[in-house]
Amino acid sequence: MSPATAGIIGIIFLVVLFLLRMPVAFAMALVGFGGFAYLTSPEAALGLLGRDIFDQFSSYPLSVIPMFILMGTFAFASGISQRLYRTAYAWIGHRRGGLTVATVFACAGFGAICGSSTATAATMGKIALPEMKKYNYDDTLASGTVAAAGTLGILIPPSTVLIVYGILTEQSIGKLFVAGVLPGIILSIFFAATVALLCWRNPAIGPPGTPSSWREKWEALTGIVEAFLLFLLAIGGLFLGWFSPTQAGAIGAGGALVIGLTRRQLSWETFIEACKDGLRTSCMVIFIITGAVIFGHFMAVSRIPFMLAEWLGGLPIHPMAVMAVIAFIYFIGGFFMDAMGLIVVTIPIFFPIVEKLGFDPIWFGVIIVLVGEMGVITPPVGVNVFVIKGIAPDIPLENIFRGILPFLVALILFTALLMVFPQIATFLPSLVSY
């Protein structure tokens, strides 16, 4: 059997294990180990298994993951999300659809200190959904907004998905973070415009909330000062080259902890819960990366990614058409798999193609995060939808999915815009040199 045939059989076997509900990390490690043993030797594969696990678990570049995840869990436990929402509410809650627009911007704000879409949706869902219910907002609009706006968490820096992409493709995490800023802001505006359009067509779905006085508005602004300072310190320090990514994450986590302690929001129980949550998520992410590294070794000896890249590069079609096909594969894959899992599994296969076709790897990272965001809100594995369902069990699942549709259209339109104008993602990274 040729290495390429063994590689294809390995990929099929991997998909079968996924469908049989084996954890993605374990399946990749198992298939990667088996395939590598077949193509090289069992001794080489056994040696690689132990070495890969030790190298990944002790990898300093990977330590950025627990640090930024911890920053997000501490920020949540410190009540920063509540104050962000209160500020957005005070300024725009009195307008038609104002609470949903406030939710979008509060999600964007929380996304700037938390790198997970699920955490952003869960956090904002707990705060925003009861408020919107109080003001008789349409369930479909309210739940769809929180689920969709939660996805901003993995686009706006810090982003766990961009960190993992950066590690797997050896791209600068700082540049990837900078690249997510403009798309994150523009996508937030797209989402807000979607809400405005929906409420303009049917004002009954988003009635105005109680107006706030100017004094209340200015007072509410103090609630975002700490989030802004935390972002400025951790992410700003990273952008300016003061800190390495791990240092930025640790400073961010430490800063969020100090905010929680000074605000007296962080009890011993919430602190321990935040630590447990951060540790378990970090463990899941590092295991999945380790699995991907083992699987990547198998793919490399099978030479499939390079052959695929050669073949696609030689086709008489525009590279952008190939990119559209790749984006479509991610879009379909997102229906069945979490964004992180999908990206980790496919990067060893698709990244050589992207490089061969001459695309900017930073831009590609933002594109796959956007397409991954679609997977987070589309059935049957729309994680954010299930998170919202868990928070608001009285809202039927089909209503949440229906509520997401307009935002999905906005997300697709924005992804197309980014494909036509890659500068939206590449302009800011071109200004930094590290």
Partner: protein, 163 residues
């Protein structure tokens, strides 16, 4: 009997998680001290990188079993749930056995790697901390993972037996 085994697993994984939490917080504290020391006092912490790397080994490997118990690993659920109950039980047992086999291999290989580090005298790059205890630590932390997978396998057999 299985109930006792499950309680033991939960308790063991809970203890391991505490070790993981301490290691993760150590990573954060050491990095913060290093940054403040280097930027403010021009005196970076010697061996900070090594401590972070080695603490990460402890944090991640000792959190593995509790992460598995909590169901935090990414899985593709949609097709599995459509299958008949009997087919699900058979598939579940097979997948758990494969997982158990993988982790037994991991324990073996990490012990071999640890022994190789011990005999060759491998140390971390700056603080010269011996690496072999950490390879053994990953192997040790994988034992509760094997126990969790074994328990789930036994549970799946019992369920199938009941059907």
């Amino acid at each position: 009997m299985l109930g006792k085994f499950e309680r033991f697993n939960h308790r063991l994984s809970g203890w391991c998680e505490w070790l993981g939490i301490v290691a993760m917080l150590l990573m954060m504290v050491i990095t913060c001290i290093d940054v403040v020391g280097a930027k403010v006092f021009k005196w970076p912490l010697l061996g900070a990188l090594d401590i972070v790397m080695l603490s990460q080994i402890v944090a991640i490997s000792f959190a593995a079993s509790v992460t598995l118990i909590a169901g935090r690993h990414i899985q593709v659920e949609f097709l599995f749930n459509l299958l008949p109950r009997r087919a699900r039980a058979v598939i579940n047992s097979t997948v758990l056995l494969l997982g158990l086999g993988l982790f037994i291999l991991i324990i073996w290989r990490l012990c071999v790697l640890g022994y190789a580090f011990q005999t060759s005298g491998e140390y971390s790059p700056t603080a010269y901390i011996p690496l072999y205890p950490f390879a053994y630590a990953i192997a040790l932390a994988s034992i509760p993972v094997c126990l969790v997978l074994l328990l789930e396998f036994l549970k799946s057999l019992t369920k199938r037996g009941q059907q």
